[in-house]
Amino acid sequence: MSVSNLLENWSDVRHTHPVDDVPHTPYKWAMSIDLDACSGCNACSVACYAENNLAVVGKEKYEHGHSMHWMRIERYWDEDGREFPDQGAQFLPMMCQQCEAAPCETVCPVGATNHTPDGINSQIYNRCIGSRYCEANCPYKVRYFNWYDYPTTDNVWPAEMNQQLNPDVTVRGKGVMEKCTFCIQRVTVAKNNAKNEGRLVHDGDVQTACQQACPTSAIHFGNLVDPESKVYKQWQAQQVELDKDEQTKDKGTEEGGVSPEGEGKLRGYRVFEELRPYPSVMYLERVRESDI
């Protein structure tokens, strides 16, 4: 009976994530991306196409903004108007940030996008009716809509190419929103294997496609609540906490933060932290040599 269910689990159904308590246990998948290592080579992006059956939309549709790259490499220039970008460009791999308090989730009319118990912002394609509200409300604009029926009518996968499709990932038809899933099909396999063996997933059991490809190993993916995981250690070392909208280290020194000036500034940050989506992807600031 739902009312008794409601009352029995009252404290559970009134939890606010992630600020009320430890958000997820035993898994909370998270990422860290070292922008100083990232060279902007696009290998991650292509690997994502290969792993997740992304549609290649072609020149004309790309022009109309219909590209489907779940992971896009953004290239930023200095904004100080120098003649040449003599400290290079800034590359940023941007994909779904798997926010803990994702703006996209609340607004979906049919609940096609939810937060999984292990902290991934899941997208259920077959539930999606294509209102696109999630993308409208996404601060990062990392959701991609199937404007056309790529699997069939658009001949994106002609006869032989379709054999490359990953059977673990559903092919999306027209009118469906899609996005980076942290390679949830790989996560599921790792979790199932671990369950079969009566253990938890160890760090390194599961890699996302982008992480696996990344030639500079700039991407790390793992379980944020596992103290053994690289991601946990990195977040710890950078003093980035999942449930903060402003990190303690970024506050003034008198409030316990690290001084923003001087040696020892920590590089970890999350994009648009202040909007309070509590993203699960930590970026490490790019470093540029001061002596040259």
Partner: protein, 749 residues
């Protein structure tokens, strides 16, 4: 889902060679019905089942097999994920010293090469302007017939870089037909640098230990993009950035057009095109001035290159030269690299020599420049080549010397400079055979096109030119059954099988014992089991282990490096004066994905944005905003880039990372053939290259074309990923940069 034809598997003795067949369900079609409701009706679909199964044949469980990536020559070892008999994805092989489990975008797209719908599926014989499908028997017979009575020197074999047993077999075949005319042509190859390295260090390709260097000064070497072994260098780069004891490596990139590596540099220095060598000598001079002991001849050689002059010649400020000298002196070891931007001039060899000299002066040789291990089988080491070889052959063709021409793994009709008129000359050969995956521009000119297996369905061995750590021989093995195996004597075949069949026409007795290339390969490997580290293992075990690893690692001796700085013959011309008629230098840029254009038909690569401009599916002309303003050009203007050898029209893209006196067009696009994803997208700058050659090596000076740029009055929307904000963060904290003195990397995990 898994419906489709089912391979019967019974009655065959199982060995590793057959594992693909046993995997079964070959070519099982995948459902594209996706997330719609689909038809869910009991009894509508057929369950795919085996006749016989083995232990590891479990539906929905992937198996992984190792092979070698053939998308470029770097020789990365890969692992293919195979499910239900289809290869789905390629990953790096973690045991590889070269790529350590990593891949680049190009490598990822290997599956699209394999599944490409535009692959040639049967031998085609020219009849008029179209091809007629013939059987292999007929094709072989035809070759035998055409070779009959033709003298050895009248046969030319043009190929891309070859190595391993294929090279051996090819050599034997050429031997059997009496030809010595094997021309190796790779359109984009560091040929001048190889020659300069040979002179400076004694080896063509030493090992560069970027990870051990504290400063990397790169003269246009795009080692993160397309240079030599980018995945390997990328990993080294990542270590270099983390540094030893938290001292982060410093990357300084000197070039006229920003490459991906330049975009990642701590300091990107734009130089006047062609003055890289001058700057190198200037730095040596500055080092000397800063107190670094220079040997007498070096000091003498750089005497004239004081900062003021170098600064005036190159456009790099005096302070910057000082800073570079200071950091090079303070932080050792360092590493200086000469890349394609330095070598692409008529004085490219001199540039490279000057740059290598800087390495020697800094004492890096032996520290960050080390001798690479070599495979103890010289007959298998890669044969490399560049335009000089093509030029020789082209001259031969023009002179009508060659009656029969074979072409394999290279596409000179597309990549040869227009001035060579290769296409016309090729027509002079009486009988042209192309071994091809696609009907590319060269194959279209051939009389006989022989379809090749993709790298994911063919056997082979490969020896990488750049050895990362120790020597290795890479195994290439099929990851699935042939996609276009045709039972009626058509279908695709492996290059090794073809060569074996051809050689059997001449030396049947010697090769009778090899049923196919696989047998040949197996025998050849087992023959040298001891040398290959087989020890006492029995043949079967060793062979299976070798295949399962996908790599044969060898201790491998190293050549000694000659570390002595030599300035003999080092003379650099003053920067060329600006040509009034053609005031701009054309820099054909090499995109890490498309390279010389052989991969353009892989749609992932077409749609993968160029890292710097984010443009997709098209070519563009990079112009510095200042120059563009001068010429009244805005983004999207169609401009005509014309030089002495013709002109091409492409959209303009205003790019801050280029010298104002240069324009740049990426190579690889502008195909007239090759397939649906390549044809008709972009322009081909190879067409308008001037035939200027490096004075010492005779290789094409890729950057020596001078052009003028003019608007034609049309404007298009540039199709790119970058939005309206044009790569600005608009004051938002998105991609953040911090100065190295503010952070302590040693505290990081």
């Amino acid at each position: 889902m898994n419906s489709g034809s089912v391979k019967h598997l019974a009655g065959q003795p199982f060995d590793r060679r057959d594992f693909l067949k046993v995997l079964g369900w070959s070519g099982a079609a995948v459902a594209l019905s996706g997330c719609g409701n689909g038809s869910v009706e009991d009894g509508r679909e057929t369950v795919v089942s085996y006749v016989e199964a083995t232990d590891y044949m479990i539906p929905s469980i992937s198996v992984y097999f190792n092979s070698t990536c053939a998308q470029c020559d770097a020789g990365c070892n890969i692992t293919g994920r195979i499910r239900e008999g289809r290869v789905l994805k390629l990953e790096g092989n973690p045991d590889s010293a070269i790529n350590r489990g990593k891949t680049c975008g190009l490598g990822q797209a290997g599956v699209q090469h394999h599944y490409n719908p535009d692959r040639v599926r049967e031998p085609l014989l020219r009849s008029g302007n179209s091809g007629e499908a013939i059987t292999w028997e007929k094709a072989y017979a035809l070759i035998a017939e055409k070779l009959n009575g033709v003298k050895g020197e009248e046969i030319a074999f043009l190929s891309g870089g070859v190595s391993g047993h294929l090279k051996v077999l090819l050599g034997n075949y050429l031997d059997s037909i009496g030809s010595k005319n094997h021309f190796v042509y790779e359109a984009i190859a560091p040929a001048v640098v190889r020659a300069a390295n040979k002179k400076s260090y004694g080896v063509e390709m030493p090992r560069f230990n970027i990870n051990k260097a504290k400063v990397v000064l790169s003269f246009g070497a795009d080692f993160l993009g397309a240079w030599v072994s980018p995945v390997h260098f990328s990993q080294q780069y990542a270590q270099f950035r983390k540094g030893v004891n938290g001292q982060r490596g410093v990357l300084i990139q000197v070039e006229s057009k920003m490459t991906l590596t330049g975009a990642n540099a701590d300091r990107w220095l734009v130089v006047r095109p062609g003055t890289e060598g001058i700057l190198a000598l200037g730095i040596i001079h500055a080092l000397g001035a800063a107190g670094l002991a220079l040997s007498g001849d070096v000091a003498a050689a750089v005497k004239g290159y004081d900062k003021a002059r170098v600064s005036a010649d190159t456009g790099v400020s005096v302070e910057q030269i000082d800073k570079i000298a200071a950091i090079l002196k303070a932080r050792t070891p360092s590493l200086v690299l000469a890349g394609s931007a330095a070598e692409g001039y008529a004085h490219g060899s001199q540039n490279a020599a000057a740059i290598n000299l800087l390495n020697q002066v800094l004492g890096n040789v032996g520290k960050t420049v080390e001798a690479a291990a070599v495979v103890p089988f010289p007959q298998m080491t890669p044969t490399t080549g560049n335009t000089a070889a093509l030029k020789t052959m082209n001259n031969g063709l023009a002179a009508g010397k060659f009656k029969v021409l074979f072409s394999y793994a290279t596409n000179p009709v597309f990549t040869a400079p227009g001035a060579m008129k290769f296409k016309d000359n090729m027509a002079r050969a009486g009988f042209k055979v192309a071994f091809a995956h696609y009907l590319d521009e060269t194959a279209l000119q051939a009389d006989l096109v022989l379809p090749l297996d993709s790298a994911l369905e063919d056997w082979g061995t490969q020896v990488p030119e750049y050895m990362a750590e120790g020597a290795q021989i890479n195994i290439q093995q099929p990851l699935m059954e042939k996609l276009h195996a045709n039972t009626d004597g058509k279908g695709t075949r492996g290059m090794g099988d073809i060569l074996l069949a051809l050689i059997k026409q001449r030396r049947a007795d010697d090769y009778r014992k090899y049923d196919d290339y696989y047998a040949y390969l197996r025998a050849a490997v087992l023959q040298n089991k001891g040398a290959l580290g087989g020890g006492v293992a029995d043949d079967e075990t060793f062979w299976n282990e070798t295949l399962s690893k996908g790599i044969i690692k060898l201790a491998g001796a190293t050549h000694a490096l000659s570390g002595k700085a030599s300035v003999a013959g080092l003379s650099l011309p003053a920067p060329a004066a600006i040509d009034a008629q053609y005031p701009l230098q054309l820099i054909p840029s090499v995109n890490a994905s498309l390279r010389d254009g052989r991969h353009t038909n892989q749609p992932w690569l077409q749609e993968s944005p160029d890292p710097l401009t984010t443009i997709v599916w098209d070519s563009w002309v990079e112009i510095h905003p200042k120059k563009a303003a001068e010429l009244g050009i805005v983004e999207g203007d169609i401009v005509e880039v014309s030089g002495k050898n013709g002109s091409i029209k492409a959209q303009a893209y205003l790019f801050p990372g280029i010298h104002p006196d240069a324009v740049s067009i990426p190579l690889g696009r502008g195909h007239e053939a090759l397939g649906r994803y390549a044809q008709g997208y972009g322009v081909n700058p190879f067409q308008i290259l001037d035939a200027v050659y490096d004075k010492e090596t005779g290789e094409l000076a890729l950057h020596e074309t001078r052009v003028k740029v003019s608007k034609i009055g049309k404007r298009v929307i540039v199709v790119k990923d970058e939005g309206f904000a044009g790569g600005k963060q608009m004051g938002k904290k998105i991609a953040v940069r911090v100065s190295s003195d503010k952070v302590k990397l040693s505290g990081e995990v």
